[in-house]
Symmetry: C2
């Protein structure tokens, strides 16, 4: 297990925070069992066994029988690094509790549906590189201007503007801090493009945000 | 935040592992969106902010506006403490990777349905006491003989026989170790009675397994 010294104790990811994805899913939301879109942020954890670092090789996932899986996907997000204990803070004050910013990549199995908590596909060993560094809060003026770019083997495959997030960074920190108390060093991945990017064995993936940094990882199994 | 020194890095809970509950849910399973029962164990995490200890007062949960919630429930489970790195082990060898046994209680908001990952209700601060001690593996001969008992204010409210688990401890360790590598000190709560026990402000809750121990906690808010 590779130690990621940037993350302390918790990496929370926000799913379904891409406005365009939510629009595309409207018909699905109307069906059973919910009959309406989620009213709260949909969260999932990337547990400690998933944490990884810039430059590391990402293990190609295996199925239950030890055979290589057919396909993997990657998403990337701005990572909010909590700077101080954060409990039930208002949207107005939420950004005061940010210690800094980083990048989170999330390698996973493709999801078959959006309903069931996909623990199996989301907690692959070493599937969540975080880094390469933590950028001071004061260096980023307007988060809405940021774009998360994913390149595979040098070619751009995804661009996600933070302005297209259904809930803003400040809103998410406020809401999550009402659900659980956050501690310094905990990281929130605030939003991924709705369409994850397919990757193959041996691919080199660069996830980047201008002014925050670039996470570069290579897929294993080649 | 109260440090629980028994748990290292991860507390994984297995939901829907009570045979009687699964039987009762058969009609629900046939409906959209799944149309069949879960084919894999349904897992959820209790993150670090939830970890708590024997004897601690459990905070009465508040809603988003800071008002006390109307109701809370508790479940209890045998806790498997992992003894060594556990990756893709067979059912036959799984128990060799157990370091010891303990108790896990899980205080939460009542669940409205079983579909959505109920992060909000499951990750209340301090809602997962673990302990009071770790019992050596060799002291428990037959796990199927164990019963998890929950008493509220001295009155027995729930009894769950481990023989009624859909998947055994060895099966769960094997399956989970194929999903993620487990590390020493990580804890798996293997199964809860399908019906959680309602609790009120000021109640004293004892969760116990004979030969493993008793976790005693009092609800706050009284």
């Amino acid at each position: 297990m590779i130690a990621n010294t940037l993350v302390k104790s918790k990496l929370v990811c926000v799913a379904l925070n891409d406005k365009h994805q939510l629009t595309a899913l409207q018909d699905t939301f109307k069906k059973d069992p919910y009959k309406k879109p989620p009213t709260q942020p949909v969260l999932y954890y990337k547990p400690r066994n998933t944490w990884n670092v810039d430059g590391a090789e990402i293990e190609w996932a295996k199925d239950f029988d030890g055979q290589d899986v057919a396909s993997m996907v990657v998403g990337a997000s701005l990572g909010i690094v909590i700077g101080q204990e954060t409990c039930r803070v208002s949207v107005e004050n939420a950004l005061d509790f940010v210690g800094g910013y980083t990048l989170v990549a999330d390698y996973s199995l493709p999801e078959k549906n959006y309903y069931r908590p996909d623990i199996k596909g989301k907690c692959l060993d070493g599937s969540a590189p975080v880094g390469p560094n933590i950028i001071s809060r004061s260096t980023l003026e307007n988060l809405d201007d940021l774009q998360v770019v994913i390149k595979v083997n040098g070619e751009r495959k995804s661009l996600f503007a933070l302005a297209d997030m259904e809930r803003s960074v400040a809103e998410l920190i406020s809401i999550i801090s009402h659900i659980m108390t956050l501690q310094p060093g905990e990281v929130i991945a605030v939003g991924f493009a709705g369409d994850r990017v397919p990757v193959g064995k041996g691919d080199t993936v660069e996830a980047s945000i201008e002014g925050v940094g670039t996470l570069t990882n290579t897929l294993g199994g080649a």
